[in-house]
Amino acid sequence: MKLSREEVLHIAALAKLGMTEDDIHHFGDQLSNILENFEVLKGVDTEGIPPTAQANSVCNVMRDDVIAPSLSQEEVLANAPKRDGEFFRIRPVME
């Protein structure tokens, strides 16, 4: 199966990945080739087999909601590319 240019652009848009023309061709070919190799799974009989999301049996871990020290605002903001006082600064989301 060959991914079309539109499909590659659609996936890139979903993943918020900017692409050059070269990337579109390159990823298109490589992803098509990889996906073709995954076709082997279609032949596996999985009738009545439940999916495994995670290999150990732990599920629904609960704990008490206890107040404990957390990172300071200064620590949280220390790596911010742009900040405005005690806030992360971002560009306008609505135009």
Partner: protein, 486 residues
């Protein structure tokens, strides 16, 4: 002490405890070793010399006061995927070039509490995606056994540092073989613990249902010592399991008479190098000689599907995990636009390297509307089949024995731009993460001077079984004592 660079943890500990060497002296000689050989090996992203010497001085005070745990004053190297408070943590990505974590990973906290000295952060494939360190956004690490070859990956910097004597031990992370494959390629010992044995808190996430942190050491004893320090339930990782942590060193120095070992035939794959198959034959014969009962031709029939299952599940999880890199909270941020969405797309376009983008694309596709059932859900069902086959095998066998990799370390650049060729170097290690079971790679000989690793796999939380077999084999062969000339 003629060769401090080759000291194991337990040898260093003996010298520190008996005051034949101080931690500052040991740390200084390893920093000097790094200065001498790392320009050739290129294992380190960051060397933390000043911090290491401060920590060593503190360790010496503790030792003087009679507090000397097996890791007190012992210098280690951490894969650059583990958050170290105030110490640059890049994941070998441009995205995190200047990232200073505000907290320590749980494993780092635990090692610090045990008195470890941090020598630095090790190079890796970007975001742990790769098998050679060639996907590092900065440089490729070289195999200390042959500098024209790769050390394996993704924990290639950790493996090369340990093999080249640039640290007593290292930590790596393993999502599909990233501890074991480089351990095999560099002739060191690398353990991927059972999923849930070690907290993943502070491990920069790649594929959360597969990732585990583990020790990369010069021998099996050291592996057990590090596991004693880092294992256990952690409230901050809800997938870590509340399972008693034994003293793993108690599994050493036991014989393996009567242990039942299975050799799964599907791991002796087409394309396996004859030298690797031959070395495995000799290794298996040695295990028999040591009294184990070996059964060949064991079948885990779903093994050939593991590659496809892995390369659907891991990229799917990665595409979700890596959605956090948006240029807002931390990391690289493209500034040349006023548009929010363009900034985000450009941030990710320029911040991520080609393999990371490829996997995000693959995962996004597998999870997207119309394809979820055919790819992701199908892969999760086949994952169940693979797990069930391991469960069944472990009803009959104490452990399974396979090669760690079908080949010896390959030349840098050899796999070119063919992602599938690279993915195939992990065929023997991927199924173990899919099933969540523990496995170790230990040195099992050489072919024309190039290392070959043997993988020992056991059922969940049976690391003790692995250590018992690995230690008996190691003591009988002595491969762990071989050091490369760098």
């Amino acid at each position: 002490m003629t060769h401090p660079e080759h000291l194991t943890i337990h040898e260093a500990h003996d010298l520190l405890k008996s005051k034949q060497i101080s931690s500052v002296e040991l740390t200084k000689s390893l920093l000097k070793r790094i200065e001498e050989v790392d320009p050739k090996v290129k294992a380190f992203m960051t060397v933390t010399g000043d911090l290491a010497l401060q920590q060593a001085a503190q360790a010496d005070k503790k030792i003087a006061a009679g507090e000397c745990s097996p890791l007190t004053g012992v210098p280690g190297v951490m894969k650059d995927v583990l958050c170290t408070k105030g110490v640059r943590t890049t994941c070998s990505s441009k995205m995190l070039e200047h990232f200073l974590p505000p907290y320590n990973a749980t494993v780092i906290e635990k090692l610090y509490a045990n008195g470890m000295v941090l020598l630095g952060k090790a190079n890796m494939d970007e975001f742990a995606m790769g098998s050679s360190t060639e996907n590092s956004a900065y440089f490729t690490t070289h195999n200390p056994w042959d500098l024209t070859r790769i050390p394996g990956g993704s924990s290639g910097g950790s493996a090369a540092a340990v093999a080249a004597g640039e640290g007593c031990f290292a930590l790596g992370s393993d999502t599909g073989g990233s501890i074991r494959q480089p351990a095999g390629f560099c002739s060191i010992t690398g353990l991927k613990p059972t999923y849930g044995r070690v907290s993943r808190y502070g491990l920069i996430a790649f594929a959360s249902s597969l990732d585990q942190i583990g020790p990369m050491t010069k021998d099996v004893t050291d592996s057990a010592i590090v596991m004693n320090a880092i294992s256990g339930r952690d409230e901050r990782d809800s997938t870590s399991v509340d399972c008693p942590v034994p003293d793993f060193t108690k599994s050493l120095n036991k014989d393996i008479k009567g242990m039942r070992l299975g050799i799964p035939k599907e791991y002796f794959v087409e394309g396996m190098q004859p030298e690797v198959a031959a070395a495995m034959e000799i290794a298996i014969a040695k295990l028999e000689e040591l009294g184990a009962s070996v059964e060949r031709g064991v079948s885990l029939p779903s093994t050939p599907y593991a590659l496809a299952v892995y390369y659907i599940i891991a990229p799917s999880e990665a595409s979700a995990n890596l959605a956090r890199y948006d240029g807002v909270k931390y990391g690289f941020s493209f500034q040349g636009t006023d548009s929010m969405w363009e900034a985000m797309e450009k941030t990710r376009q320029f911040g991520f390297g080609p393999e990371v983008k490829r996997r995000i694309m693959l995962g996004t596709y597998a999870l997207s509307a119309g394809y979820y059932d055919a790819y992701y859900l199908k892969a999760q069902k086949v994952r169940t089949l693979i797990r069930m086959e391991f469960d069944k095998a472990f009803e009959k066998y104490d452990a399974l024995i396979t090669p760690t990799s079908p080949t010896v370390p390959f030349k840098a650049g050899e796999k070119g731009d063919d992602p599938l060729a690279m993915y195939l170097s992990d065929v023997c290690t991927l199924p173990i993460n899919i099933a969540g079971v523990p496995a170790i790679s230990i040195p099992a000989g050489f072919a024309s001077g190039l290392p070959i690793g043997m993988q020992i796999i056991a059922k969940p939380f049976a690391e003790e079984t692995i250590f018992r077999i690995a230690h008996a084999y190691e003591q009988a062969t002595g491969w762990q004592k071989m050091n490369p000339k760098v």
